[in-house]
Subunit: 163 residues, 2 copies
């Protein structure tokens, strides 16, 4: 099976999306992360829910968690001010790098090798400028998560059940 | 709301569990990770699905992914030999550390501070030896994921919808 057949939809936001909207998306659908694309639709980063937690929590509380206990929970609405007026691009960790990108024609084992090398929980599948759409950047087909790929690798050997 | 009320069940395996069984669990339920506990039931590590991918893929393919294309997919059953006879403890990354552990009485903000400080996607909730069960180690109540916690923090402020 090829990467194009393994790719599935993944919740995606733009670097210009509203940060609060992105946080709600993560929270309401209990997503571990969002895929962030740039203005041209090219994968820019993975934004984990834990990063949004980090932005919501005041710096002095992160440094000294005992201070969390003295913050009145009724004033928790102040937390959300940390997201007000910010874009998703402003919330990315400084070290955020684009997820690895597989070619639609890559085999499951090629995708697995890519994932293993960069230790990423997911791989984006896209036709790049060196592929079919030379005229216009990257065309994102979806993502392949580690557990989905594991299912493919194990299932191909009959190690998985047929359910 | 306190950590004990936010904790949910999470798929858990022991360091002594069969590695292939753990891989199947990840694959069949499309889980991003498993919680690994030691012989005494204390949280030992988080085992991400991507780590199992790394163990399945031959080292020479990780180093040179172009070699993946020349591996006959019909021989993919050889991949699973990498897990044969191994225990979960043998599959943990060398740098694996226990997940952060919150006290059942911690507030959501205290848990958030802990998560933000160590940049973990989840926090285990356990009564430790310094808590109620002084006689016998750690009693694991469950875990709190980043997205679940985000829902609590946003929801407490009315920023989330009521669905």
């Amino acid at each position: 099976m090829r990467a194009r057949d393994l790719a599935v939809e993944y919740e995606t936001v733009s670097v210009d999306s509203d940060a609060m909207e992105a946080a709600r998306l993560l929270a309401e659908h209990r997503l571990p992360a969002l895929l962030v694309v740039d203005e041209r639709g090219e994968p820019r980063a993975i934004l984990p829910a834990s990063q949004m937690i980090k932005i919501l929590v005041p710096g002095y509380v992160i440094e000294d968690p005992t201070l969390a206990a003295v913050v009145d929970e009724k004033h928790a609405d102040r937390l959300c001010q940390a997201l007000a007026g910010r874009r998703v691009g402003d919330c990315l960790p400084h070290e955020a790098t684009p997820p690895p990108i597989a070619d639609p024609d890559d085999t499951a084992l090629e995708v697995a090798a890519l994932m293993a090398r960069v230790r990423s929980p997911l791989v984006a599948v896209a036709e790049t400028a060196t592929g079919r759409h030379k005229e216009g950047g990257t065309h994102l087909l979806g993502v392949i998560t580690a557990s989905h790929l594991l299912h493919e690798l194990l299932g191909a050997t009959g190690a998985s059940d047929s359910s």
